[in-house]
Symmetry: C2
Subunit: 146 residues, 2 copies
DNA sequence: TTCAAATAACACCTAAAGGTATTATTAATG
DNA sequence: CATTAATAATACCTTTAGGTGTTATTTGAA
């Protein structure tokens, strides 16, 4: 199970910004701490700020701020804010109509797999993962990242 | 959880070919039954036949045949034969070294998710899913597929 | 021994994700 | 009210997965 780069970036951003929910973060600060290409980061921030998880403040002392309590923001919601759906409701074999016609033989098993992923992503909130572990991880390891 | 198109194609192919493990299948027959672009299918068959799951027979009455008992072929092995790894051992946030340094806060949960996927894909064999359900599904629905 | 029907190989095209560059807009502050 | 530091918008470039086209090779059989 690999998320898209964009989804990973969004999760890094939100995880970092959840450290201080009041603070306005500039893209420059995020760039310096999260190892995301600067211009791509800026584009992504604009996209995320159009969802319900981030707000933007324009102007000289502007930046971005988490829009709601981190306790209320699920990881799935963050990924959805990027425009992606990591789980979906798709046939294992990639057929369009599987669930609506005769179920393929792995349909049940695969549904359980997807349910599991959905559970973890939708029930885990930013508040749960923003702990010092992950933040110290990011700060300590930025240098070894590509 | 979405597999790549290529992985889905490989699974369709193997699932179909498992119906008769002795039979030589031509790409034409597979094409007519599995809704995979013809030339892409041919390219993929060559790739798969270089793995341990398919053998090819060249020449006039050639084709492809499942290389081993379907009971011994796991879904994960099929996906691996396409050159992909759907699960991997990657950090949730996409950092390179996560598991080897300080674990990020969601690391444990995410490991369980991946384990679950791995279990299903590696423990489920072709033999289990090749039942009439899925085959009749494919045959009945080919017309509604793109 | 030639033809036909199959796979094999190689090169190229297309669409989408990821990434870059440039210019416009906003708003605090000297 | 001009400057500056931030976000917003738009367009373009690059890489890769997916898909296509053409030619070569293999092999059974008329």
């Amino acid at each position: 199970m690999k998320l898209s780069k964009t989804a990973e970036y969004a999760l890094r951003i939100m995880n970092y910004m959840a450290i201080d929910e009041q603070k306005l973060y500039t893209t420059t600060e995020l760039f310096e701490n999260l190892n995301i290409p600067f211009r791509y980061l800026r584009k992504l921030m604009i996209k995320l700020s159009k969802s319900e998880i981030l707000t933007s403040v324009q102007g000289k002392h502007g930046g971005y701020r988490i829009a709601r309590k981190s306790l209320e923001i699920s990881l799935l919601e963050i990924i959805h804010a990027t425009g992606e759906d990591p789980v979906g409701n798709v046939c294992f074999f990639g057929f369009e109509k599987c669930a609506f016609v005769e179920k393929c033989a792995i349909h049940e098993k695969w549904t359980l797999v997807r349910d599991n992923i959905n559970q973890v992503l939708s029930k885990t909130t930013l508040a749960e993962i923003k702990g010092s572990e992950s933040t110290s991880f990011i700060k300590n390891n930025i240098s070894i990242l590509t």
